[in-house]
């Protein structure tokens, strides 16, 4: 049953990332297609890695499946999988290294994996601001503003800063109806997982907020699977409550999420291309 569900998630991830990849978002330069395809492939593969890594860590197939599903359908991962995106490749590599690190028994290989991680990050994500430190760091007030922006409801559910890299203006990095699950997931987070992921999230959050190129930077994407995990924890817990009212609300919320997904694709396929056409003159980078 889980295998079929995983297959469906992978099919969804593939279709949502490959379908009309050469048209949406509009290609301003035909040379961008193949780099875009690389992002799509790594984006799809990331879904699979998230599933196996979650299963390995939490020993809970349903939670792993839910995490993979949340990542596969969420707006930001779909958007990043359809444009030239260094963070998508870097995220895949980081997750794969984590998976190998946890499965490999040989200490030398484990240590080797740890040593090569920064190199892999550098090679896959040279745009990461730590590797191109040419501008001054933001002031403390700006840093705090960036920090709270990244965890603000506005960024999470309503507006996407990364417009030029595949963001739909009317969409946050999550669907609005993920909110109850996200809150519940935060509440249950410590029961499910150790402190490590929380510390990783915090480091990425602080680094993202400290970026001199903020908001024109995407380092926070490296923490995105953790947010998906929190949502999945919320969904998993909610479903495990065996009360009729709770289940009824759950079903309603899921119907709204389906509506949210449909709405996102409407914006992404109808309005976003038009926004790009209108703003062509201001786009300076390939995407």
């Amino acid at each position: 049953m889980h295998s079929i569900a995983l297959l469906l998630v992978m099919v969804y991830a593939s279709v949502s990332r490959l379908w009309f990849l050469n048209q949406i978002p509009p290609l301003l330069d035909t040379a961008s297609y193949y780099p875009r395809l690389v992002s799509a492939i790594f984006g799809i593969a990331t879904v699979a890695v998230i599933y196996f890594l979650s299963k390995l860590i939490y020993k809970n197939k349903r939670l792993a499946l839910l995490t993979a599903w949340v990542f596969a359908v969420s707006p930001w991962s779909v958007e990043q999988g359809r444009v030239i995106s260094q963070p998508t490749v870097a995220l895949f590599c980081l997750l794969l290294i984590s998976f190998l690190f946890l499965t490999v028994k040989n200490k030398i290989i484990s240590r080797g994996l740890l040593i090569i991680t920064p190199l892999v990050l550098y090679l896959t994500y040279p745009q990461f601001w730590l590797f191109r430190f040419t501008q001054p760091l933001p002031k403390i007030a700006d840093f705090l503003n960036n920090l709270f922006y990244l965890i603000s409801p506005e960024f999470l559910f309503f507006k996407n800063t990364t417009f030029w890299w595949g963001g739909v203006r009317e969409s946050g990095i999550f669907y609005l109806f993920f909110l109850p699950f996200l809150l519940l997931g935060i509440y249950k987070f410590y029961k499910v997982t150790a402190l490590g992921p929380a510390i990783y999230f915090l480091i990425i959050l602080l680094l993202s907020a400290a970026s001199p190129y903020f908001p024109e930077s995407r380092e926070f994407y490296l923490a995105y699977p953790l947010l998906c995990l929190i949502v999945a924890i919320g969904i998993n817990y909610w479903w495990s409550v065996k009360s009729k009212i709770s289940r009824l609300i759950f079903v309603f919320l899921f119907l709204f999420i389906i509506y949210d997904i449909a709405s996102f694709f409407h914006y992404y396929t109808v309005h976003y291309p038009q926004q790009i056409q209108i703003s062509r003159g201001q786009i300076n980078e390939k995407f």
């Binding site: 007030a141 705090l144 503003n145 920090l147 709270f148 922006y149 965890i151 603000s152 409801p153 506005e154 559910f157 309503f158 609005l176 509440y187 449909a262 709405s263 409407h266 914006y267 109808v270 309005h271 038009q274």
Partner: protein
């Protein structure tokens, strides 16, 4: 209360009193338009029994067309009678009821956490947090309605909860709830919803057939009767500016909807457009977004309200440590299954609802009732972090509190009055003083400033006879796009609408003094007098035809 706790409690009250009463007449640096209007109307009622519009003891003050709830105005009357028409008299009800909310908070927390061994300590901590809350201090030092409404709302909740043990308190609760709706418009949504939540949460403890409950409902309805009767004649009495500040009045969402439907294209299915760009979705998302912006760390900790005068320069409405303590407090409240946890969450949610339906968000004023859960949760969080016999943690927290509180005091008492005096309409008192000292030399005095309702400052600081004003004021009752109505003239003072210095300068009338906003003039212009902000920036200049 234990003796040691008693001492701490009175220390908290003393701290609250000092932070709320010192320099009350000077900080905030001027009476804001809404404050001064209530002050003059209280004076007018005292002298004539009628408000500035000539209405006899109104249940809602028409004011500038924004129909202010009456309670704060009526509460000012004894102070104006005792101390005269001045800044202190206008703001004293806020100070006293602000202190009252701190006392009520202590008893409310004791009541809500009855059975919890550390209830008294928790209550003391909550009172302390309220005493040093920037949000609460800001509101306690100004007559902006919400501090009054919070006092009566909190009283209503406290006596309701007490009523579940001793039903005679229901009468008091009904009285407090009824008075709260006379204090602030938002309470006409918040009070009934919170009452409903209380009934649902405490349904097992309420004896619905008790005579006190029936009497309570009767008392509540009786107290609401004047408002309901006035509503029959004029719905504005109940709704005030709700229409003109509502999200549905704002054209931004409608324009975006129109743009999106146009982008869908002529050939697109109307079903698709209706499905994704319908009113329910467009406005629903807008309202939810406006609701959630009140939980944004940038608003709470860094920037606060964007709209003056509800701002403290360069800081939010809560302290940074509060943010983390709130999260800990909520988690602890649910982990330990405190019986009041749901009430506090609902209190927070309901407090934000009225603001979510307005297009001016985030709004510190409209969501002010949220200050109670926002101080009780950190108190729970802090209590959890402190263990008996520990020294280091309390020491660290004391240092953090002291630095944060000192920063707030600096921003509020030193920076705000000098660098941001314009937020509180500074200079109007000085303007009124000057023009009234020279008015005998002129036939007319023309104010070429649309903002700030200068007429009310002239009435207040000139202590103009309300009878004279009511009979000579000229106003056309034409509301602008924000619902405000303006006075055109009274006595020799003229307030022409939409007239600027550029329009008037070539057509100056003899024996007329012109009051001109400095931003509308050129630097080389000669003038009789000037008013400058404390930071040296020019506010008004005064000139006459032969200058």
């Amino acid at each position: 209360m234990k003796n040691s706790n008693k001492i701490l409690f009175w220390l908290v009250i003393l701290l609250a009193l000092i932070t709320r009463i010192v320099f009350l007449d000077r900080i905030p640096s001027s009476l804001y338009t809404d404050e001064i209007d209530q002050g003059y109307n209280a004076y007018s009622i005292m002298k004539t029994g009628r408000d500035e519009h000539g209405v006899f003891w109104p249940v809602s003050f028409r004011s500038f067309g924004d129909w202010k709830p009456p309670l704060q105005t009526y509460l000012m009357m004894p102070f104006i009678y005792l101390f005269g028409l001045n800044e202190t008299s206008v703001r004293l009800p806020s100070v006293l009821l602000g202190l009252g909310t701190i006392v009520l908070t202590y008893y409310l927390v004791c009541e809500l956490f009855r059975g919890f061994g550390k209830a008294e300590k928790l209550a003391l901590l909550a009172s302390f947090f309220l005493a040093i809350s920037p949000w609460h201090i800001l509101q306690s030092r100004s007559a902006m309605l919400v501090i009054i409404s919070l006092f009566f709302l909190e009283g209503g909740v406290l006596f309701f909860v007490k009523g579940t043990n001793n039903s005679k308190y229901y009468l008091l609760s009904a009285g407090f709830f009824a008075l709260s709706v006379y204090a602030y418009y938002g309470l006409r949504v918040v009070a009934p919803l919170l009452l409903l939540v209380l009934v649902i949460i405490y349904r097992k403890r309420i004896k619905f057939a008790h005579i006190e409950i029936i009497l309570g409902i009767a008392v509540g309805l009786l107290m609401m009767l004047p408002l309901l009767l006035s509503f029959r004649n004029n719905p504005d009495v109940v709704f005030g500016r709700a229409r003109t500040v509502s999200v549905f009045y704002d054209q931004g969402t409608k324009l975006r909807q129109w743009e999106l439907i146009s982008q869908d294209g002529v050939g697109a299915s109307t079903l698709v457009s209706r499905l994704f760009h319908n009113n329910v979705v467009m406005f629903g998302r807008n309202i939810i977004q406006r609701f959630l912006v009140h939980l944004d760390g940038r608003y709470l900790l860094l920037n606060g309200d964007h709209a003056p005068p509800f701002q403290i320069p360069n800081m939010g409405i809560i302290y940074p440590f509060d943010f983390f303590l709130i999260i800990i407090g909520i988690i602890v409240a649910y982990k330990r299954k405190f019986s009041s946890r749901n009430l506090l969450i609902w209190w927070l949610v309901i407090s934000i609802i009225p603001a979510a339906f307005t297009y001016m968000t985030p709004a510190a004023n409209r969501t002010f009732n949220a200050v109670i859960p926002f101080i009780i949760f950190p108190a729970i969080g802090l209590l959890q972090l402190f263990k008996k016999g520990q020294i280091l943690r309390p020491l660290i927290f004391s240092v953090i509190f002291s630095i944060s509180f000192a920063y707030f005091l600096r921003q509020y008492f030193l920076v705000l009055p000098v660098d941001y005096a314009d937020w509180w309409n500074w200079g109007m008192k000085e303007t009124a003083g000057y023009v009234q000292s020279v008015e005998k030399e002129y036939d007319n005095i023309v104010f070429l400033d649309k903002d700030g309702m200068p007429y009310i400052y002239l009435l207040f600081y000139g202590k103009i006879d309300p009878n004279l004003y009511q009979t000579t004021a000229l106003r056309n009752y034409h509301a602008d796009e924000f619902g405000f109505e303006r006075v055109e003239e009274f006595g020799k003072y003229l307030f022409p609408d939409n007239r600027k210095w550029q329009d008037e300068k070539n057509n100056l009338q003899p024996k007329t003094l012109y009051v001109i906003p400095a931003k509308d003039t050129d630097d080389r212009m000669e003038y009789l007098h000037e008013i400058r902000y404390p930071n040296g920036q020019l506010k008004y200049i005064f000139t006459e035809p032969n200058k």
